[in-house]
Symmetry: C2
Subunit: 453 residues, 2 copies
C-alpha cells in the first residue's frame, strides 16, 4: 500500500485529492512560482482531519504544505515535490462571536471579509484588511501576519490575534494565548505563530480581537502633488500633527499613468504623486480638513475632499485600480519593503533610480503612513520567471531598504521569494536561533520546508 | 582563583559588588520573597559588560539573574543561590529619539517616566505606564510585558516594542525586529523576548514605538455605584458605545474603605464601587459626557466630571492612593488575574466569596476596561510568607479566573509566585514547547533559572 492510500483510508476518498489537475490548482499561490509535484491534497473539514494528516505525515515522513485560499504573494503556500497540500479552506465556522468581550473564535478557512461582516452586525469590525480581504482566509492572514490599508490606525494581524489552537507536526494539539485583552503567562507563542507561514504548526482555530466599528461615515481626501518629496513631507506632517488617519496611501507617477491609460482619470501631466487619506474618527471631518490644509501647505496642487460614502469610494477607487492597471501592462513581481516613515521619499527615489539603471518598469504604491512600500516590477506577459534585470533591480531595492533602516517585507512575508535576501536582515545569530525554534516545533522538518526562515 | 575573581579582573572592582549587604539590596524585588545567597552583583554600564558577564557565566556555569530597578511584583528578579545578579540599572542612555519616525532607541536602565518626558518634548509619549512608571526601568517593563492604566487604549509594552538588542547566554549578540512600524521577516523574536523575564537573553537596547501625545487636556469622571454589578455593567456599556477611554479603573468597597480610613474621602456607606474613567481624545469632553450618561443609566448614584487638570488629578488621585492605603493595613500579596471583560462582575464576586470563605482580607482594584483585576490579599505585617489561608484564597481566585476564560497574570508576570499554577494554564504540550524554546536560547539553563516558564 502506498502511503497516500493509508491517508485515504484514515480520512475519506472525497477528502484526499490525487487528480493531478486538481492538485495543480491547490499547489500555487498568486506568484509566478512553479510548484513541485505534490502527492495529493487534503481538504480538511475539522481539527481531527488535521490531526490525522499530521500523524500520517510524521509516520511516513511526508512534508506538508498548509494553505488557505492561496492568495499569498511570496510563495509561502507553493507546493514542493513529494508534499501533501493541506487545505484549510473548508474549515469556515465562526465558532463564537462575543460582542461583550469583542472577540471571535474562528476556523482558519473563514474569509476575512465574512468575519468583518459578521462583526458589523454587532457594531464591531475585524480590523486587518489586506487588499485580498474578499478572498483571503484568516488562517492565511495569520500565517503571513497580513497587513492592509487600515493598519496605519489599527495595526497588523498580529495585533488582533489573542490565542490559537494549533496542530503540531506530530499531531499534538497546542493551545496558545488567551481570550483576554492582556496576559503574560509564559512566552508569547501566539505571536510566534503569526507570520510563521505554516512552518511551526497548523492553525485550526484563532481567537481574534474585534474592535468597535466607526459610527459615522469616514471622511476622505485625495491630493495631487508635483513632486514625490512634497507628498512624502505631507505624510510626515499629517502623522506628526496627530491626525490619526485610518488610511494613508501614496501612488507614484508610474502607477497613476497605468491607471489613467486604463480608465482615464484625467491625470494632469504635472502630477507626480497622489496621496489618498481617510479618517474614521468621531471628528473625521475636522481631521480631514487638517490633513487637506497640511497637503496644501506642503505643495499639493489640488485636494478633493468628501464625506459622502459614494464620493469616498470614488477617491479610494483610484487606489483599488492600481494592481489591475499594472497587470494589464505585463506580468508583475509585487514587492513589499517597509522603511521608517521619514525614509519614504528616499526609498521611492531609490526605486525610481533602480528602474532607470536596470531599464525595468516599476510602479509603486505605498501604505505611506506605515512606510510600507509596494514597488511592482512589471515584465513581459507569458514570461515564467522575472528576467535577470528585474531581479537585479529588486536586489538593489531590497539592499537600499535595509540601508535605510527598513525591512525586506512589511506584510507579505518571506515565503520562497525572499529566501535569498533573508540572512542579510536576520544575521547569522538570528538565523541560527530561528532554525532552533523551528526544530522545537517540527524536529523532522515536515511543515512547509524551505519557507519563512 | 575563585570564578568571581576572574569576573572582577575582566570588568573592574567597582562594577562587581561582593559586599553581602549590598548584594542583598540587589537580590530582592517588591514581593515578600526571601532571595537565595548570590555570589555578587554586576553593575553593567555597557553592552560589552553584559557580554563579558555572560561569557564568564557560561565558562563557569554560573546562573545569572538580570534585573532593572527591582520593582517587580512576581519575584522574577529575586536572586537564587550561587547566582550573579546582573543589574542593568546603570545603562540609562536614550541612544536616539526620532520624532519623524516616532521611535526611540533606549538602554534597559532608562526609567519609564524619563523616556516619556523626553518624548513629550517632541509632542510624543511613551504609552505603557505601569503604576511604577516613576521608578521602574524600560528593561524591566519589557521583561515582564508591563501594562498600566493607559493600556486600555494604547496596549501593553509588547505593543510598543519594535526591536531589541540582546546578549544571549553564551555572550553572542542577537538583534531582533526592526525600526519600522510593520515587518514579517522571520519569526517574531521581539515578541518572544517581551515578557520572558530575562530567561532567554539580556536586553541591552530596545527600539520602542512612541505615539503622539494628546493635544488637549484629558477629561475625567469618577462615578459611585451601590453595587459592583452595576459598575461592571457600566464598564461594558461604555466600551460597547465606542467611547475609547484612555483610563478605566474600578475600585471595590474594601479598597475605598481602606482609602477613606486613611484620607477621609467622605465615602458614603451605600457606595460599593467606584469607577474612574478618562478620555484623551480630541473630543474628550463629549466622550466623558457620554460615559457619565452611561454610568447614570446603569445605576450610578453620583458622577463627578472635570476637564481641569488639577481636578482630574484629584479624581484619579483616589486610585493612586489604593496601594498605600492597603499597605497601611498589613503585608500585601498583590495579584493580577485577567478575565474577558464581560466576566468582570463574576470575577469580583468570586473574589469576595473567597475572602469570606477563607476569612482573608482582599481589596480589589481593576483596570476594568481590560478585565485586568488586582485583588490584594492583606495579611499581618511582619509575617514573612503569606499564611496558608491567603494561599488557599489565592488558589481559589486563580482557578476561578481560568474557569471564566481568563489568565493567571495580566501584566505582572509569572516570576516565582505563579509557578505552582502555571501548568494549569499552559497545559502539558505548551509547557514542553516553552521549555524547548528556552533550551534554544540558553541550553545550559543559566539565565534566570526557575522563572517565567
Amino acid at each position: 500500500m502506498r502511503p497516500i492510500d493509508a491517508l485515504v483510508n484514515s480520512l475519506s476518498e472525497a477528502q484526499v485529492v490525487t487528480d493531478p489537475d486538481v492538485i495543480d490548482s491547490y499547489a500555487r499561490d498568486r506568484t509566478f512560482l512553479e510548484p513541485g509535484k505534490a502527492l495529493g491534497v487534503v481538504l480538511a473539514t475539522s481539527r481531527d482531519d488535521v490531526v490525522t494528516t499530521m500523524k500520517w505525515a510524521t509516520e511516513h515522513r511526508v512534508p506538508v504544505v498548509p494553505r488557505g485560499a492561496g492568495t499569498g504573494l511570496a510563495g509561502a503556500s507553493v507546493a514542493s515535490d513529494g508534499a501533501i497540500v493541506l487545505s484549510l479552506a473548508k474549515m469556515t465556522a465562526i465558532r463564537e462571536l462575543s460582542p461583550a468581550d469583542e472577540i471571535a473564535v474562528v476556523e482558519p478557512g473563514v474569509i476575512n471579509a465574512d468575519l468583518d461582516r459578521a462583526a458589523r452586525e454587532h457594531g464591531l469590525m475585524y480590523a486587518p484588511d489586506p487588499s485580498s480581504y474578499e478572498i483571503s482566509t484568516i488562517g492565511g492572514n495569520l500565517a503571513t501576519n497580513a497587513g492592509g490599508l487600515r493598519c496605519v490606525k489599527y495595526g497588523v494581524t498580529r495585533d488582533s490575534a489573542l490565542g490559537l489552537e494549533v496542530v503540531l507536526a506530530d499531531g499534538r494539539i497546542l493551545n496558545t494565548g488567551r481570550r483576554t485583552m492582556k496576559g503574560v503567562t509564559g512566552y508569547d507563542l501566539t505571536g510566534l505563530f503569526v507570520g510563521s507561514e505554516g512552518t511551526l504548526g497548523v492553525i485550526t482555530a484563532a481567537t481574534v480581537r474585534l474592535r468597535r466599528a466607526p459610527i459615522a461615515p469616514p471622511s476622505t481626501f485625495a491630493a495631487e502633488f508635483g513632486s514625490l518629496r512634497d507628498a512624502g513631507a505631507a505624510v510626515s506632517a499629517i502623522m506628526a500633527a496627530g491626525c490619526q488617519p485610518s488610511l494613508m496611501e501614496l501612488l507614484d507617477r508610474a502607477t497613476l499613468q497605468a491607471i489613467d491609460d486604463w480608465r482615464n482619470i484625467g491625470l494632469e501631466s504635472s502630477t507626480q504623486a497622489m496621496l489618498i487619506g481617510q479618517s474614521d474618527a468621531t471628528d473625521a471631518d475636522a481631521m480631514v480638513e487638517r490633513m487637506e490644509r497640511l497637503c496644501m501647505e506642503h505643495g499639493a496642487s489640488f485636494v478633493a475632499v468628501s464625506s459622502s460614502p459614494e464620493e469616498a469610494e470614488e477617491l479610494i477607487g483610484v487606489r483599488r485600480l492600481a494592481y489591475g492597471a499594472k497587470e494589464r501592462m505585463g506580468a508583475c513581481l509585487v514587492e513589499d519593503i517597509c522603511v521608517p516613515r521619514s525614509a519614504l521619499p528616499d526609498m521611492i527615489t531609490a526605486i525610481e533610480a533602480a528602474a532607470v539603471r536596470h531599464d525595468v518598469r516599476i510602479a509603486t504604491v505605498a501604505h505611506a503612513g506605515d512606510g510600507n512600500v509596494h514597488p511592482v516590477f512589471i515584465f513581459e506577459h507569458g514570461t515564467l520567471e522575472p528576467p535577470a534585470e528585474v531581479w537585479a533591480a529588486a536586489d538593489e531595492v531590497f539592499r537600499q531598504a535595509l540601508a535605510l533602516g527598513g525591512t525586506l517585507t512589511g506584510e507579505h512575508g518571506v515565503g520562497l521569494l525572499k529566501q535569498r535576501w533573508l540572512e542579510l536582515e536576520a544575521g547569522p545569530v538570528g538565523t541560527e536561533i530561528q532554525r532552533g525554534i523551528k526544530a522545537v516545533f517540527d524536529p523532522l522538518g515536515l511543515l512547509n520546508p524551505g519557507k519563512a526562515i
